[in-house]
């Protein structure tokens, strides 16, 4: 029974990682950049929905939609101001700019919402009792897993079937060729950022509902973990991000429960290293052989 409850907390944590990782992986797949500011957009999403629900008294669904809108706009604006001018620059320059954006968002949040941690009101509370109360599954965990699955299926369908999705895949394969075929590469990349940021807003709401605390730095560690998850599953791959996130969450919970709470993170990272040594492109990633 304990094992089951550890497994459930692992799956719940993993699903949050997975949603964040999906956003990471989409942006990486198309723009080929590690968007380190992704975690901070999650934090902004959390704050926006918090303000909408606690200050304006709006129902939680409106709060979520508002958060998604704000984050989408924010994502597109950041992309346009900070990343678009660097499209031809070396990838490391873009990486550093992304870090600058991350610092900017954290410190802006500190000034706007102050340093005092806020307690997030979960959008759904209570828990499901099984086996006569011996096992309790918080509803928010169930919601997180369901949302995560829905997003993954929707994203897969979107990239495979819609016109925009196909354009995204074309851009990810070869930007120059895509441009020649009449695809507006800049618009496609902006669209990717919009979707990624909207996903980040959802992730923010779910993250804060499961672990109800909100600070300007709330997004940074989940961001790094999700980046790890995306690489774990094979960066650029949508099912890979899902699998990576889920496994990461489960390994973290199990390591805490059965090995050492001190070294939980180290164990997660050690597993990652071993997996990458065996499969250098992650679990589901494509290995692209180098051409001479």
């Amino acid at each position: 029974m304990e094992f089951l409850s550890y497994l459930i907390s692992g799956i719940s944590l993993g699903s949050v990682y997975a949603i964040i990782a999906l956003g990471y992986t989409m942006v990486y797949g198309i723009a080929k950049m590690l968007n380190f500011a992704h975690g901070d957009i999650i934090m902004v999403g959390g704050y926006i929905s918090f303000c909408a629900m606690n200050y304006l008294g709006l129902p939680s669904i409106v709060g979520i939609i508002l958060a998604m809108l704000v984050c989408t706009v924010l994502g597109v604006v950041i992309e346009g101001l900070a990343y678009k001018p660097l499209r031809a620059a070396p990838s490391l320059a873009v990486l550093i700019t992304a870090i600058g954006v991350s610092y900017f968002l954290q410190n802006a949040a500190l000034l706007v919402w102050s340093a005092a941690p806020k307690v997030y009101t979960p959008i759904i509370s209570g828990s499901l009792s099984l086996f006569g109360g011996a096992l309790k599954i918080p509803y928010v965990s169930i919601l997180t897993v369901v949302v995560c699955l829905v997003i993954m299926v929707a994203l897969t369908a979107f990239t495979n079937m819609s016109k925009m999705g196909k354009a995204m895949r074309a851009c990810s394969e070869d930007k120059g060729a895509a441009q020649l075929m009449g695809i507006n590469v800049n618009a496609t990349i902006s669209m990717t950022f919009a979707i990624g940021s909207a996903l980040a807003a959802i992730a923010g709401v779910l993250l804060c509902s499961s672990y109800p605390t909100l600070m300007p730095t709330t997004g940074s560690m989940p961001g790094i973990k999700a980046f790890t998850a995306a690489v774990f599953g094979g960066i650029g791959s949508i099912p890979g991000a899902f699998l990576g996130g889920l496994l990461l969450g489960i390994i973290e919970a199990m390591a805490k429960a059965y090995i050492s709470t001190n070294l939980a993170n180290s164990i997660v990272f050690a597993v990652l290293i071993v997996v990458l040594l065996v499969k250098p492109a992650g679990l589901l990633g494509r290995y692209v052989p180098e051409k001479v």
């Binding site: 005092a116 109800p212 709470t261």
Partner: protein
């Protein structure tokens, strides 16, 4: 190549330009009417004003500011000029902040706020002979072997043994679980002394779980561990922010032991959005309560709320007391503002053990030569959203 060179030079020029225009203004000054250093003492606070620990540093800066404003508005012959510097709770930046304050002409230091930073700065103040009174850095390593460093807060061992003694006296049969933060000096310090004292008192510790900064989101595993070990008392020597997550998650799991906190738990009731019914029955050792009925506390809370739109926590109260302690010490040592920081340091160090100061965080605070404060930790229990004596 030349283009690259040019851009680099321009980037450097921009940085230096910013650096150059930085030497004049000091925006964080809380000036008295006369800011010339001849008539007022210059004191500085150091703490994290940005970053994830900003809540503590801001509280210290604000608490000290209120005390300085009160003193400057009163008829006291001693006036202060205050400057607060940011250290992001980092040792290196804290030493930089201290040097910056010394460049400004600081004579006495209230800070640093966090333990690690205070350790780094205390060694420098000891060599420089600058008087240092930290409001909230609670490790004994901060004061050990440094005669010029004093504390306003309890030391970690004091809190660890205090908690264990209280439990041994009032709930000797409890099965105790401990959840603490393993990468934090404060939390680990209290944990270590608690465990030693608990063993000496024959308390029954059934589970020890840790977390780090990086794993501070999910506590369900530790709570399940404590629950299945049969713990009915969970000791949380941690700050209130992770504690609020623990209370929330324990509630979601339907696990309801008695939670026991230390002074870092203070502040949990005033967290925005926190459902105070979750903290019902939580016990904690704290020197300060914003709900206390005495006039001084109420005045302090009122000015703090007016000025900063926030309820003060114990960090703010400690810093407030620190400024009044400096005032008492300067009066007793008959210091004048034209004395150098070194002379003031020697004079104040000599009188510190003779002082007895009444503050918000304790009546009749006294110090021994080691720098540790002697005041009684007070155990309170949360009932209906306020602290009451058990």
């Amino acid at each position: 190549m030349k283009k690259k060179l040019l851009s680099l030079v321009m980037a450097a020029a921009m940085v230096l330009g910013l650096a150059a225009c930085g030497s004049s203004a000091d925006t964080t000054d809380t000036g008295s009417d006369d800011s010339a250093s001849g008539t007022t003492f210059k004191i500085g606070t150091i703490g994290p004003l940005t970053g994830e620990n900003a809540i503590y540093g801001l509280a210290v800066a604000n608490g000290a500011k209120i005390a300085v404003e009160e003193i400057n508005a009163s008829d006291s012959s001693i006036k202060f000029e205050l400057q607060s510097q940011d250290d992001v709770a980092d040792g290196e930046t804290s030493v930089n902040a201290y040097n910056k304050l010394m460049d400004w002409g600081m004579q006495l230091l209230v800070g640093p706020t966090t333990t690690g930073a205070a350790q780094a700065v205390s060694a420098v103040t000891n060599t420089d002979r600058t008087f240092m009174l930290t409001p909230s850095a609670s490790s004994t390593d901060v004061i050990d072997g440094k005669d010029n460093v004093f504390q306003v807060c309890f030391t970690d061992p004091n809190q660890g043994t205090g908690s264990a003694d209280y439990m041994a006296e009032n709930m000797p049969d409890a099965k105790i679980a401990i959840i603490y933060r393993n990468d934090d000096a404060y939390s680990q310090g209290i944990h270590d002394t608690f465990v030693t004292e608990a063993a000496a008192k024959g308390l029954n510790v059934v589970y020890e779980g840790t977390f780090t900064k990086d794993t501070a989101t999910d506590f369900s595993v530790q709570l399940t561990g404590a629950q299945s070990a049969g713990a009915d008392l969970v000791f949380l020597p941690i700050y209130y922010q992770p504690a609020s997550v623990i209370l929330n998650q324990a509630n979601a799991m339907g696990y309801a032991p008695t939670f026991f906190g230390v002074d870092g738990m203070d502040g949990i009731l005033t967290m925005e959005g926190f459902d105070t019914s979750l903290a019902e029955g939580v016990m904690l050792l704290t020197p300060f309560s914003a709900d206390a009925q005495d006039e001084r506390t109420q005045n302090f809370v009122k000015s703090y709320q007016e000025e900063f739109d926030d309820t003060p926590n114990q960090f703010a109260a400690d810093a407030y007391d620190a400024v009044y302690i400096l005032k008492a010490a300067l009066e007793a040592a008959e210091c004048t503002p034209d004395m150098s920081s070194t002379d003031i340091c020697e004079a104040v160090v000599a009188v510190m053990p003779t002082l007895s100061v009444d503050g918000l965080t304790g009546a009749g605070m006294t110090w021994d030569a080691s720098g540790a404060v002697s005041k009684e930790p007070m155990a309170v229990v949360i009932e209906n959203g306020t602290y009451v004596l058990p």
